[in-house]
């Protein structure tokens, strides 16, 4: 800002306010002044010194329960539809190339990702309702003191919450933050907040390895790990890259409103369709590549039957040594490699590699003994942390207007992924797990 017009600038602002004051004076007759609104009443409770944070945690718990538990039967319905289509296509298509592509590529690969539409949309819906009702701003308010202690701005909170849905809109939401340092920190730690794209991986691995009783606990632990890492990273960045105090927190609290069903659904849809678009483009494209690589050369693999002879096995074996210390095989290696593009592809890759038999992916994972609970959990942590997806990298690049920061995010997160997974494995072996 040019310094020479300081007086003029404030003179203009002042005159505008004077004009406004005179207009308001001559057109508005104030009511009885202070009135007590429903918003004031609700804020007495939701912003209460003692109850504010517990109520927020209750809301958070309700949101996740809604997204995950209530959506279960709908996941099953989609699974059944894919099963039926898979069975039908197996009979109806005579060309072996096409049959393999349809059953492995589409129903195995893409299908294993699409079954996660219900929980992902559920999460988006819950987030929309929280935003539209005005509660989200209150959550930011009650968490502000805590955030400040972490060297974060109260305003960083909403982008972090949105990150549970998807990191891309979350990074865009940092735009309303006026301090550049606060904004940078919020953007850089955002990918550590576990977005819904990573959920399929957790559900697959945890469901297969920890059993129904403990799968929820394992998934909860990964989410918590992400939050802890985000907090720790924020603290480190604040003390190294972006020194200084967070700027003072000014947040307006909009009045509460009963969320309008149609506008909340519209809100959910405008975010959810990004997932559908991604499924239709990037994930589908990657699935085609994975299918091609795992069924070719066609003769050697006998039409995709002997996966060990395929190109993908060759690639997998080439990069396997990197992940050997963690106890992950070549399939995990290629899944992670293709998952660089979008993390759902990790599941999609397994879907193609293990085939979409009736037994289901989870059981195939168990029967082939690809993971122990320890290596499986380390794998979940690795998927949480390593390299934000291409869209997130792109969002960081656009928002920071440089390639330096996304490159930095890529490097620090990959390093962090290796460290954290390594620590998990080492600690687990120390206490005698395999």
């Amino acid at each position: 800002m040019s310094e020479y017009a300081e007086n003029l600038r404030s003179a203009f602002a002042q005159r505008r306010y004077e004009r406004i004051a005179s207009i308001v004076d001559s057109t508005v007759i104030k009511g009885r002044g202070e009135i007590f609104t429903l918003t004031d009443m609700l804020d007495q409770v939701f912003l209460n010194k003692h109850l504010g944070i517990p109520i927020f945690l209750t809301v958070l718990w309700t949101m996740f329960q809604f997204a995950f538990a209530v959506s279960e039967p709908f996941v099953v319905i989609i699974e059944k539809i894919f099963e039926m289509l898979g069975a039908w296509s197996g009979q109806a298509i005579s060309d072996p190339h096409l049959a393999s592509f349809v059953s492995l590529g589409i129903f195995g690969g893409l299908g294993s990702v699409l079954v996660f539409i219900p929980p992902i949309f559920g999460l988006f819906l819950a987030l929309s309702v929280l935003e539209d009702s005005g509660y989200m701003a209150r959550a930011a308010f009650v968490m502000d003191r805590f955030m400040y202690r972490l060297g974060l701005h109260g305003r960083s909170f909403i982008p972090l919450m949105i990150g549970f849905g998807c990191n891309v809109p979350a990074i865009m939401a940092t735009r309303s933050m006026d301090s550049e340092k606060d904004r940078m920190i919020t953007m850089l730690i955002n990918p550590l907040i576990s977005c819904s794209a990573r959920l399929p991986v957790y559900v697959l691995i945890a469901g297969a390895l920890f059993g129904a009783a403990y799968a929820g606990t394992a998934i909860f632990a990964v989410y918590a790990l992400g939050i802890v890492l985000a907090v720790a990273t924020a603290l480190i960045f604040r003390r190294t890259l972006f020194r200084g105090e967070p700027s003072p927190f000014v947040l307006e609290l909009p009045p509460y409103a009963v969320p309008d069903a149609s506008s909340s659904i519209l809100h959910m849809w405008s975010r959810g369709r990004m997932f559908l678009k991604k499924a239709g483009t990037i994930i589908f494209g990657m699935t085609i590549i994975v299918w091609f690589l795992s069924t070719h050369p066609w003769e050697e693999t006998s039409g995709g039957q002997v996966i060990a002879e395929s190109y993908i096995a060759w690639i997998g074996h080439a990069i396997e040594p990197v992940f050997q210390p963690f106890g992950w095989d070549w399939m995990a290696a290629v899944a992670l490699l293709f998952g660089l593009v979008a993390k759902e592809v990790v599941v999609g890759t397994y879907g193609v590699l293990l085939g979409a038999e009736e037994a289901g992916l989870g059981e195939a994972l168990v029967s082939q003994e690809l993971f122990t609970p320890l290596t499986g959990f380390a794998f979940m942590a690795f998927v949480l942390i390593y390299v934000p997806c291409v869209a997130t990298i792109g969002a960081i690049a656009k928002e920071t207007n440089s390639w330096r920061w996304p490159a930095f995010a890529l490097v620090y997160q990959t390093a962090l992924a290796f460290i954290v997974s390594g620590v998990i494995i080492a600690a687990g072996r120390l206490v005698g797990l395999s």
């Binding site: 007590f36 007495q44 409770v45 939701f46 209750t58 309700t62 279960e72 509460y256």
Partner: protein
Amino acid sequence: MDKLSVKNGKWLGAYAFILGIGYCAAAIVEAAGKPDIFPGGLLSIGVLLVVSATYLMGVKGLISGRRDGISFLMGGLLLSVAVGGLYLLMAGADWLMYLLGEAEDFALLSEISPAIILLVIALPLVPTMRRLTSKMAW
């Protein structure tokens, strides 16, 4: 808002007290009934305790006819609706799973969790709250 008469307030205060104790009791029952508490169970217990605390914090204000008493009662009701509603939806989901053949059986009785019962107990308060706040703006 209608003036909160002391008589009215005593009655509402007692109602809030019962609900507060009810949620607390539900939390204890839930804790006793679960061998492996951590962490899913722990969280659902915590949620019941939060609802309980919200109601209990309103009791004093309601009895002495203060407005903040109504605030806490309203906050508690909203939480009751959110948590109870969630359990209802989860019961619905379990039923769907049974229809889809994914669950062995569906026992209606075991689906009626304390949170649902307490929601039903709390519901008669809704018309009263509506009347008390009908003239208020957001």
